[in-house]
């Protein structure tokens, strides 16, 4: 069977499973729609959280980014897993005890203020829309490369599938499809990694293979070999990187805190029965995520070494078939500058003849390593599972923000449960269409805005929630001031240093690098904005009235794990 036939088969089977689950687990009430009825087991919730969190970025892009960034790529590995420790220890158990449907629910009630709720809704919408557009794009890339349909058709197919099970099943349908998607994506990620690890080092465990000696009898360690190849071609040493220590520190912190503050991850902990289950399922989620996250750096090392060995200083005419296939997608480009017919792949931009898009490393890796056709097809199905599961989780946050936090809590408080359920479905439909539009017409700055989303979550939600739980005296004036100042500062820094708004646009951005405050890049600035949020909140609080007695009682109550009851809207 050809790769394409295998891909149709595997993608077809997995899609049929997702749709079957969606029909089986339709939501009948808003409670099932928002929090899956509140009776999901910790293991199922852990798997769903893992699939929800691991997006097209984790599955498709991350190992590729690390392959090119080496040590600097560690910020994603530590940042996107370390955030779970914060989530499990500082947020999840208490928010579960609080027992409402959404993050703006918590902010609105804890800070007894409609303004705070609306600020939180706006942040949740910005963060979620940014992400979902990126997922749709990922779906389109996979479809166009492996099923050879037009990228736009790919996006539309993805939209229809997500729409079907998100709108029908709500959180309940999404949770159980995500369980299936986790299995598909982890299998799809591990199989090629294990194959390649055996091929290169003889060790079947990629996490160990990465630190083993090469299989060629030379006795050279793989990482030493790659360090050598990198410096030979003029790149930084793989295990060293070139970002400053301050910047690595700050970016890691911003990603960790941003992760802990992401609404689509937090809301997953509303679906379990008890506080105890919330803690446990955070642990299980991280364990399941760690399987992929510790394999990704190994994949990065294998892929980078394989790629350099395959292309560097080789005849263009003798390139294998995968090279030509990826050239037609435009994600791989060769320009024979010195006309010698060979590929010079070097750090020096004036001499470099090969441009490789980082996103193709994971997808092309099995082909580069000559793995069987079914493995290549499996990777395509895994990429789709990763993108669809995250897109569905985000759509749920968007629809519940609109139907619950805005329509029910602000505009039409006496709407019936049935009416609210239909509003939620309507909002999800509109959200899918908007997301699909951005997937087909991606704004040039998608990647930049994703970084902005993490910074925003770090600068806004995280301090407000942590202070809400750990600082009983925190009042609405402090929290609102903190969120507004934090977000504004973050926006200002991004607009100035990422988009160059105040200095003549995109072209000026590179020249502004020397003006970065304390040498911190816009990606890492969320950490600073977060600290400012904390400080502003605490100062303002000193000069404004303490929160009402009743709110202080709520805080005391969420600190005690027993009697969590079920999530409810009153």
């Amino acid at each position: 069977m050809t790769v394409q036939a295998w891909t149709y088969l595997l993608v077809g089977i997995t899609f049929a499973i997702y749709i079957g689950i969606a029909i089986w687990s339709r939501a009948a009430s808003t409670k099932e729609f928002y929090v899956a009825g509140g009776g999901v087991s910790p293991l199922a919730n852990g798997m769903a959280t893992a699939a929800d969190w691991m997006s097209a970025a984790s599955f498709i892009s991350m190992a590729g980014i690390i392959a090119f960034a080496g040590y600097d790529g560690s910020v994603y590995l530590m940042g996107w897993t370390g955030g779970y420790v914060l989530l499990a220890l500082l947020l999840a158990p208490y928010l579960r005890k609080f027992g409402k449907f959404t993050v703006p629910d918590f902010i609105g009630d804890r800070y007894y203020s409609k303004t705070a709720r609306i600020v939180a809704v706006i942040c949740a919408l910005i963060v979620s829309f940014t992400y979902v557009a990126g997922q749709m794009r990922g779906v389109g890339v996979v479809f166009s490369r492996f099923l050879e349909v037009d990228i736009n058709t790919g996006v539309v197919i993805g939209m229809v599938i997500v729409l079907f099970y998100a709108v029908l099943g709500g959180m309940k349908g999404i949770t159980y499809t995500q369980v299936a998607q986790y299995c598909v994506l982890i299998f799809a990620f591990m199989v090629p990694a294990i194959f390649i690890s055996i091929q290169m080092t003889g060790n079947p465990i990629p996490q160990l293979g990465m630190g083993s000696q090469l299989n060629d009898g030379s006795g050279v360690y793989l990482l030493d070999k790659l360090n050598g190849l990198s410096t030979e071609l003029g790149f930084a040493e793989y295990t060293d990187g070139k970002k400053s220590m301050t910047d690595v520190f700050m970016i890691t912190l911003a990603l960790m805190v941003g992760t802990a503050g992401l609404p689509h991850v937090i809301v997953r902990f509303f679906t379990v029965k008890r506080v105890k289950d919330a803690r446990k399922s955070a642990g299980l989620a991280l364990l399941l995520i760690a399987i992929l996250y510790t394999t990704a750096p190994a994949v990065a090392v294998f892929a980078r070494t394989n790629m350099i060995n395959t292309v560097s200083d080789q005849e263009y005419a003798s390139m294998p078939e995968w090279f030509k296939n990826w050239e037609t997608t435009g994600l791989l480009a060769f320009n024979d500058k010195n006309g010698d017919g060979k590929i010079q792949y070097v750090a020096d931009a004036a001499k470099n003849e090969l441009i490789v898009d980082r996103d193709i490393m994971v997808l092309a890796n099995p082909e580069i390593a000559n793995l069987p056709a079914w493995v290549i097809a499996l990777v395509a199905a895994g990429g789709l599972a990763a993108a669809l599961s995250t897109a569905a989780g985000l759509l749920l946050v968007i629809s519940s923000s609109v139907s619950h936090d805005l329509i029910k809590k602000v505009f039409i408080p006496n709407i019936s449960d049935k009416g609210e359920l239909w509003a939620a479905r309507g909002a999800a439909t509109v959200a899918v269409i908007i997301a699909g539009y951005f997937g087909i017409n991606p704004p040039g700055f998608v990647a930049a805005v994703v970084a902005l989303a993490f910074g925003l979550a770090a600068a806004s939600f995280f301090p407000a929630i942590v202070l809400g739980i750990f600082y009983k005296k925190m009042n609405k004036e402090g929290a609102i001031a903190g969120m507004v100042v934090g977000i504004s500062l973050m926006l200002f820094y991004m607009l100035k240093f990422k988009f160059g708004i105040f200095d003549g646009g995109k072209e000026a951005v590179a020249g502004l690098e020397k003006d970065w405050w304390f040498g911190i890049s816009p990606e890492g600035f969320g950490s600073v904005a977060m600290l400012v949020n904390f400080i502003v909140s605490i100062i303002i609080m000193q000069f404004t009235p303490a929160p009402p007695e009743k709110v202080q009682e709520i805080v005391e109550d969420i600190r005690i794990p027993s009697g969590a009851g079920e999530a409810s809207d009153h």
Partner: protein
Amino acid sequence: MSEKQKKASAYWKENVRYLFILLTIWFAVSYGAGILFKDALNGIKIGGFELGFWFAQQGSIYVFVILIFVYVRLMNKLDKKYGYNE
């Protein structure tokens, strides 16, 4: 302060102490070993791994997973001690 409130605040104090200890370890393996002291640790090699690099790309993640499960155990015990388990 009522008996009930006293119990609640004692529970909370112990909880916060656990958080402090666990987050110190969380900081030490990632920001400490993986970033601030990475260059010094890279002088030590285990197999093909330089130690600082290993902490940044592998070790800190393993420790994160262990930390959460230790936390789950500690809290389950604490809940039992104060009769908050259900």
